[in-house]
Amino acid sequence: MNHYQERVCLQGHIIDSLVLAKVLDLILMMGGTFDLEDVHIGKTREEPSHARIRIQTASRTLLDDILKAIQPHGASIEREADCCTDRAPADGVLPDDFYATTHLPTQIRLNGRWLDVGRIEMDLAIVVHEAGSVAQAVPMSEVRRGDQIVIGREGVRVIPLQRPRERDVFGFMESQVSAERPHAHIIADVATRMRQMKERHRERQSDSHVLLAGGPAIIHAGGREALTWLIEQGFIHILFCGNALAAHDMEADLFGTSLGYGLTAGRAVPHGHEHHLRTINRIRAIGGIEAAVTSGMIKQGIMAACVRQGVPVVMSGTIRDDGPLPGVITDSVLAQRAMRALIPGVGLALLVASTLHSVATGNLLPATVPTVCVDVNPSVPTKLADRGSFQAVGLVMDAASFLSELARLLGKST
């Protein structure tokens, strides 16, 4: 990613003299890239021309080197102003004209230098710490009175996403949602990414975590076995879900049903609707999911695999939850915070069969994280895109089919 950029202006008789050509050649030869944002060519020989060039580089040093090299040819850095900040008036309250973030890489200008905004996420504010040396996206609820918050738009710039090197489905970075699109190549691309991520994760590289946010339809539809296998094989490193996915997963282990339906027989079992309540009750009695797995009470399934693999699970509660299971976070602000804490390091996100968890997770993800949203209902990926997660690739299909195909491509024998 070319994260460092600067705009320069060049003016005078820069066309016939080939000064513009030379400056652009210099930028490329030194390893930078550029966008010619604005070129005005003089209509007569006397009339000067001017060009505005956005230079992008992969490192600050390279950018400085390029600026130094092109400066003698008249390229002057465009006059830009520092961003403005104001103090938060109270805990949880932002200054009135706070800058609201997008989920794209963002920089703010402070003391004449552009600074990356850490932990970027959509719909947050930007707080400046430590005498202007650190900038970070901050949710409204986390703001403390007196925090320096960026206000207005001056001195803030959002960096458009570069096309990734990989020429796969994520390279298009657009969420076309259609039930009629073929699925196979998308799932194949997801599998390829997951294989790479597993390798990177083993080598402890950055942004190598695969996050799955899922709903209980994974269990109902028959995707439990495939997801369990994916977790056990080390392909998934973080799980976001609600009370239901965990409850039905363990219900299946204890009773062989999911919401009362026999998973193998495929029909309602007498008093089966009570199974998930009895499951929740047993887990509450033993103290929690981890205790249930380590004691041997829960033997198989998604939650068991997470406990055994050390995969962190954030369970966020909703108003309709039964129980809930121990570990479900019922304060939505706290749940959001717990999810947010696990986002840094995520390199791929799978949002499967859950409107609520998919949109919530989408809101937390930077645009730079390749994301795939799988749901039988086209309105879910559409909703995700409408709420700004334009990078998400939508896949209209059943969760079980998706997970089974994914597992098959990654080596699970059927």
Binding site: Q11, G12, H13, I14, D16, S17, L18, V19, A21, K22, R45, E46, P48, P72, H73, G74, S76
Partner: protein, 266 residues
């Protein structure tokens, strides 16, 4: 009749080193320098027939003799130079004083923009070439271009021996050009070639470029140039110019020759 500003070499010498030609150990034979300068004046005044305007030499300013760097004169307007090296900056006030004394409208460029006058800005009636990087700042050209409604094509000077444009490029009254291509990068060479057809352009051979063949004064069909430049001379004759050779090797010790010693003020 053409007028040239000159400054007698009373205090000329090498007192500092600000270009690759200057060596303090390479002492100037002052008597010889004075004789060479007077010979140049004789050629310009008598043979070429220009009017010579004399500046008063100042002790401690050895390079004041190189009046090409006083600034540029366009009609009744003079732009005073802003020297890159502190050693020559005290000259600015004297040049400015002379221009004001002669009734020119005097313009100065911004403090931080270096501009070394006709040494770095020369050309034809419709457009000029501007040498930059060694001494003048490229950013000064758009300002002058706007002020004088003249196209200025910047040329990057890439060889420090040719530190001013007038050491490696000379525009002639008939539209021809003498230049030393290797003093420019490929962009500059292409820009020059784009403007001036082959037959009007002499790529001066290196040995003559190092004699400062391009540091010539052209007035009408007369060209005054340093000695030791036979190829250049022959080409000028072929183009119908009358040439006048002057021995100026004492001034070459300082990196200057005929053109550097004059400034066209009309």
């Amino acid at each position: 009749m053409s007028r040239l500003l000159v400054c007698p070499p009373d205090f000329f010498g090498i007192e500092y080193e600000i270009n690759p030609w200057m060596r303090r150990t390479n002492r100037v034979d002052h008597g010889r320098a004075v004789r060479q300068w007077h010979e140049l004046m004789r050629v310009l005044g008598k043979d070429v027939g220009v009017v010579l305007e004399h500046m008063t030499p100042i002790p401690g300013l050895p390079d004041l003799v190189f009046t090409a760097n006083a600034g540029i004169v366009v009609g009744r307007t003079a732009v005073v130079s802003r020297f890159r090296y502190p050693e020559r900056q005290p000259e600015e006030a004297h040049f400015e004083e002379w221009f004001r004394g002669q009734g020119y409208d005097v313009i100065t460029v911004e403090q931080e923009l270096y501009f070394e006058g006709a040494g770095d800005l020369l050309g034809f009636s419709e457009y000029w070439f501007g040498g930059y990087r060694q001494r003048s700042d490229i950013r000064v050209f758009p300002i002058l271009s706007e002020r004088f409604h003249r196209e200025i094509i910047p040329l990057d000077l890439v060889d420090s021996r040719f530190y001013h444009l007038d050491t490696c490029l000379c525009s002639l009254s008939g539209g021809e050009l003498l230049y030393f291509p290797a003093a420019f990068d490929r962009y500059g060479q292409a820009a020059i070639a784009e403007r001036i057809p082959d037959k009007l352009r002499l790529a001066v051979p290196e040995d003559e470029a190092l004699q400062f063949a391009c540091n010539a004064v052209c007035v009408g069909k007369h060209v005054v140039l340093p000695t030791g430049c036979p190829t250049t001379q022959a080409w000028l004759h072929m183009r119908g110019y009358e040439t006048h050779q002057v021995q100026l090797d004492e001034f070459m010790k300082s990196g200057g020759s005929a053109k550097c010693l004059t400034l066209a003020v009309d």
